[in-house]
């Protein structure tokens, strides 16, 4: 029995790789019903009239790309379909390239014009300082966009003076930026805030959902898959749900198996 427990961990690694690769290649689809929290964001964007302004803060970097980039793309597709004006920004230097790519590619797909229908403001550091400065005056925080264009005469920002003027703000976060957005921006400048985050931090967000400080939450790849289902544009996140299911079952089996052996062997260390 000890030998069974003491197998080389590399054998377990092979199991994991197989549990993910095989369902990806075979491709079987599982239903991904949307939860209430993801629907909160979807419904909010759906309710926005044409030419509303939506701010998306891409506060993640490549380390969380696989969870948050599909989410960002699904969200952008929904916004552009709804003819909403999209303003992007980031508080994470490593995220600027990913954000720029997502926003530009989605915009081009819907024949939207940069500077008129969407803009990427780029990166600023200082987290809560940036938020408060944007809350007072967005042109003060971002005098130029990512490509160096002065923001003061951007048509896409017409009618927006500060954070309060945005019809909706969404934070896509891999760190503690959602808390900062709540404390220093949403509560201070009063606007609707939704969030998408890595699954690691999403359990910590539930108090804010209950207190309505967040009106919706997408957690991890599953959240992205739900959003893809809602906008009917199934892509990499939905495709990822079958391997996700398979590997979860594998991990649960490992836990059960390991604990059974542990109890059978008299709980010795």
């Amino acid at each position: 029995m000890d030998r069974l427990l003491g197998i080389d961990r590399r054998i377990i690694f092979i199991f994991v790789a197989a549990a993910i690769t095989i369902p990806l290649i075979i491709r079987f689809e599982l239903p991904v019903p949307a939860t209430k929290d993801v629907k909160g964001i979807y419904d909010k964007i759906n309710s926005l009239p044409d030419d509303s302004h939506i701010l998306i803060s891409f506060d993640y970097d490549p380390a969380s790309k696989e969870e948050l980039q599909p989410m960002a793309i699904a969200l952008l597709h929904h916004c552009f379909r709804k003819n909403v004006k999209v303003i992007g920004m980031t508080l994470n230097p490593g995220g600027s390239g990913l954000a720029d790519k997502a926003i530009t590619e989605a915009g081009e797909e819907y024949n939207k014009k940069y500077k008129e229908d969407y803009v990427f403001l780029g990166y600023k550091t200082g987290v809560e300082l940036v938020m408060i400065n944007m809350g007072e005056n967005i042109y003060s925080a971002f005098p130029n966009d990512f490509n160096g264009n002065p923001t003061a005469d951007l048509p896409v920002l017409k009618g927006v003076q500060s954070l309060h003027d945005f019809d909706y703000v969404i934070d896509l976060a891999s760190g503690s930026s959602i808390e900062a957005w709540i404390a220093f921006a949403k509560e201070k400048y009063k606007f609707d805030l939704g969030a998408g985050c890595t699954a690691v931090i999403s359990p910590d967000m539930y108090p804010f959902l209950q207190s309505d400080q967040l009106n919706g939450l997408m957690s991890g790849l599953k959240g992205a898959a739900e959003y893809e289902t809602l906008i009917n544009r199934k892509s990499s996140a939905v495709a990822g749900m079958s391997p996700q299911s398979a590997v979860h079952v594998l991990v649960v089996l490992f836990i059960l198996f390991g604990n059974t052996l542990y109890f059978l062997s008299g709980r010795k260390k």
Binding site: Y123, G220, S236
Partner: protein, 244 residues
């Protein structure tokens, strides 16, 4: 002996990697351009990182150190183009030397100086000047934190839902939430011994904490698996082209 085996494993993997890529390039599956070569580079880095799973090895270490360097380089350049250039260079320095139609904004001198002072932290003689900058930023942060936290994380988080309504299920949940918040707070209460009622409630607090940590545990497993799924999608789809 083991070392020899590992050297030969590495060599074989490298050879296989080269053959696959040459095959893709020759058949035109990957273009001999920035995109095709980019995918090959990205795959090389992905696989180099995964080699850590076999054991810590030079390939992993080289890839990791390169990654750290590139990430730092990216941070420097992005900070230049997004912060220092628009906020300092173009508002203060360019108008000072060239007539751009805008007068230099001399007020920017203050934060610029404080920013430069901050870098003096590494000097032995002038490091005390860096304390002025840190004091400014840290004091500012502390000042704005207090009232905003009281508002958003304390007052807003205190909910006084009715414990008795017509919906029994709601009542139970409301009670469980109240019990949970209170018992967890009591668990982190250090001025009283955990005995008697306090001890009992703090024990309940531990259960709540454990359920919450279980939830975080499940979600963290989910997160890491999602990252792996994303990478395998990249390898199987973008590189090998096995799926669409």
């Amino acid at each position: 002996m083991i070392k020899n085996r590992e050297v030969s494993i590495t060599t074989w993997i490298l050879v296989a990697f080269c053959i696959i890529n040459i095959f893709f390039l020759v058949t035109g599956k990957l273009g001999f351009d920035a995109k095709g070569l980019g995918i090959i580079t990205a795959v090389a880095f992905t696989l180099a990182m995964y080699s850590f799973l076999y054991k810590d090895n030079p390939v992993f270490k080289i890839a990791e150190n390169l990654f750290v360097g590139v990430a730092m380089g990216y941070w420097i350049i992005i900070t230049w183009f997004n912060i220092l250039k628009p906020d300092v260079f173009e508002t203060l320095i360019v108008p000072f030397f060239n007539d751009t139609g805008n007068a230099p904004q001399y007020i920017v001198i203050i934060p610029t100086l404080l920013g430069i002072f901050m870098l003096l932290r590494f000097s032995t003689k002038l490091s005390w000047l860096s304390r002025w900058s840190f004091a400014f930023v840290v004091g500012l942060g502390a000042g704005i934190t207090i009232p905003n936290f009281i508002h958003a994380f304390i007052l807003k988080q205190l909910s006084f839902d009715l414990l008795i309504t017509s919906n029994i299920l709601d009542n139970i949940n409301t009670f469980l939430i109240l019990l949970g918040v209170v018992s967890v707070l009591i668990y982190f209460f250090f001025s009283m011994e955990h005995k008697g009622v306090i001890g009992g409630v703090s024990k309940i607090g531990v259960w709540y904490l454990m359920i919450a940590f279980g939830a975080s545990f499940g979600f963290t497993v989910m997160a890491r698996m999602s990252l792996l799924i994303g990478r395998i999608q990249f390898l199987v789809r973008d590189w090998l082209g096995l799926i669409q």
